[in-house]
C-alpha cells in the first residue's frame, strides 16, 4: 500500500517538474551549402599557369634566330633566370646577330652569348627580362621516365611532344664529351635547344639533335647543363660557323 502511494506521489511530482523539451539535434548551417573549398595551391612546374593561361613550361621556351653565316637559321632555348637563357652551341654558332622572341611574340634584346667547349650548350644573356624561368630537376632522367619537349620545331609554332627515355649512349655527333640521353620524343630541326622536362615540369635535359625520321631525339643531360651553369668562365662569345 505504501509503495502504491509513493509511486503515485512520485509520478505527480515528476509530471509537474519536467515541463521542458529535450534538446533537438543541431540544424545544419545554411552558409555551409554555399561555402567553397579553398583553391589548391599550384605546384611549381608543368601545371603552373600564368595569368594568360599558358604553362610555365611554355612561357620559358624562347625562339632563337641566328642571322649570320650567310643566312638565317632558328632554334629553341629556355630561360634559367630573369636574364639568362640556355640553348645549343650550334644554334648560336657564327651569329652576326642573335634575336630572341617569347611564346607570345615579344622580342628580347640580347646582351652577350657564350658557349661550352665540351658540350653542345650555350648561354645567352638578355637585356630584356625573360617571362619566367625553369626549375631544374635534382638528377638526370632514368630509363623509362616520361619526358616532354617544348620548343619551336622547324621555326614554327610553339609545340610540345612527349616521350620516354630510351637510354644513354655516346654522342653520335661527337658534340658532347659525356653520354647523352636518347628519347622517343619527336624533335625536328629548330627543336635544338628545347628544354626536356620531367613529369613535374622540371628540366632534365636539353635537346640538341634528332634522328632523320624525327622519331627519336638526343639531349644533353641535366648534369652536363649544371656543370655549364656552374662554370662562370665560359663567356667567350659565339663559336664560329659550323
Amino acid at each position: 500500500m505504501r509503495l502504491v502511494l509513493a509511486a503515485a506521489v512520485a509520478l505527480a511530482g515528476a509530471a509537474v517538474g519536467c515541463g521542458e523539451l529535450p534538446d533537438l539535434p543541431p540544424m545544419p548551417d545554411p552558409v555551409a551549402i554555399g561555402q567553397t573549398t579553398a583553391a589548391p595551391t599550384p605546384t611549381p612546374g608543368a601545371t603552373t599557369l600564368s595569368p594568360d593561361g599558358f604553362r610555365t613550361t611554355e612561357r620559358v621556351a624562347v625562339r632563337v634566330r641566328n642571322v649570320g653565316c650567310g643566312g638565317v637559321s632558328t632554334g629553341s632555348g629556355f630561360a634559367v633566370s630573369e636574364d639568362v637563357l640556355v640553348t645549343n652551341r650550334h644554334v648560336v654558332a657564327g651569329a652576326d646577330t642573335l634575336q630572341v622572341s617569347t611564346y607570345d611574340g615579344q622580342d628580347l634584346l640580347v646582351e652577350t652569348a657564350g658557349s661550352a667547349v665540351v658540350a653542345d650548350l650555350a648561354i645567352v644573356r638578355t637585356r630584356s627580362a625573360l617571362p619566367a624561368a625553369v626549375t631544374l630537376a635534382d638528377a638526370d632522367p632514368e630509363v623509362g621516365d616520361t619526358v616532354e619537349v617544348v620548343g619551336y620545331p622547324g621555326g614554327g609554332r610553339l609545340t610540345s611532344s612527349t616521350g620516354t627515355v630510351l637510354g644513354y649512349d655516346e654522342d653520335p655527333l661527337n658534340a658532347n664529351a659525356g653520354q647523352i640521353v636518347v628519347t622517343d620524343a619527336r624533335a625536328e630541326p629548330g627543336s635544338s635547344g628545347s628544354p626536356m622536362y620531367d613529369e613535374q615540369g622540371r628540366v632534365v635535359g636539353v635537346v640538341y639533335a634528332a634522328t632523320e625520321d624525327a622519331t627519336q631525339s638526343l639531349a644533353v643531360p641535366l648534369s652536363t647543363l649544371r656543370a655549364l651553369l656552374d662554370d662562370t668562365s665560359f663567356d667567350d662569345g659565339v663559336p664560329p660557323c659550323e
Binding site: 515541463g19 551549402i33 619551336y152
Partner: protein, 210 residues
C-alpha cells in the same frame, strides 16, 4: 497499523479463573449481549473506512498525476509541433536555396567551360600570331641579307662592266699597252665578272628563282 490483526486470528477469550478464587455466576441465557460481542462488529467497519479513505486518497493522487501528465504531454506536443513547423520552414528555405545554388552552379560551370574554350582559342591565336610574327621576321632578315647580297653583286657587276669597257678600250689600241699588263687586267675583270655571276646565282637561289 501495527495494531491490525490478520483476518484469520482468533478472538480473545476470557481466561478461566484460578483455582480457589470465587467467580461470578455466568450470565443467564437470554441476557443482554456482552461488551466483547460489540467490538467484533465495530472493527471491520473501521477497517473498511480506512481502506475507503486510503483508496480515495490514492485515486485523488492518481487523478492529479494523470492531469499533470496530460498537461505535460499537451505542452510537449505543442512545442514539438511548433518546432516541426519551424524545421519544415527552414527545410523548405534550404531546399529552395539548394535549388538556386544548383542552378547557379550549372550556369557557372557552363560559363567556365565557355571561358576555357575562349581561353584555349585565345592562346592558340596568340601562339599562331607569335609564329607568324617570328616567321615574318625571318623573311625580313632573309630579305635584308638578300638585299645586302644584291648590293654586293651590283657593285661586282659595276666593276665587271667598267673593267670590260676599259679592256675593250685597251684592246682597240693594244700596241700602246704592255701585253702582260693587259692579260693581268683581263683576268681581274674576268674574276670580277665571275664573282658577280656567282653572286647573282646565289641571289636567285635565295629568292627561289631557278
Amino acid at each position: 497499523m501495527s495494531g491490525w490483526q490478520p483476518h484469520d486470528s482468533e478472538p480473545e477469550r476470557p481466561t478461566p479463573p484460578p483455582a480457589g478464587v470465587p467467580t461470578a455466576a455466568p450470565p443467564a441465557p437470554g441476557g443482554s449481549p456482552s461488551h466483547t460481542g460489540n467490538n467484533e462488529h465495530r472493527l471491520p467497519r473501521q477497517r473498511r473506512r480506512r481502506w475507503l479513505g486510503t483508496g480515495v486518497a490514492v485515486l485523488g493522487l492518481a487523478l492529479l498525476a494523470s492531469a499533470a501528465l496530460a498537461t505535460y504531454l499537451w505542452q510537449t506536443t505543442d512545442e514539438w509541433m511548433a518546432e516541426s513547423d519551424r524545421l519544415e520552414t527552414v527545410a523548405t528555405e534550404l531546399a529552395t536555396e539548394r535549388d538556386d545554388l544548383a542552378g547557379d552552379l550549372d550556369q557557372a560551370q557552363r560559363d567556365l567551360a565557355a571561358t576555357e574554350q575562349q581561353l584555349r582559342e585565345a592562346q592558340d591565336r596568340i601562339t599562331a600570331l607569335a609564329s607568324e610574327k617570328a616567321q615574318t621576321a625571318d623573311e625580313r632578315e632573309v630579305a635584308r641579307q638578300v638585299a645586302g647580297n644584291v648590293a654586293g653583286v651590283a657593285n661586282q657587276l659595276e666593276v665587271c662592266v667598267r673593267g670590260q669597257d676599259q679592256l675593250i678600250t685597251a684592246l682597240e689600241d693594244v700596241e700602246a699597252y704592255d701585253p702582260a699588263s693587259v692579260s693581268a687586267f683581263a683576268r681581274e675583270v674576268s674574276d670580277a665578272c665571275t664573282q658577280a655571276l656567282e653572286g647573282s646565282e646565289e641571289i636567285k637561289r635565295q629568292l627561289g628563282i631557278e
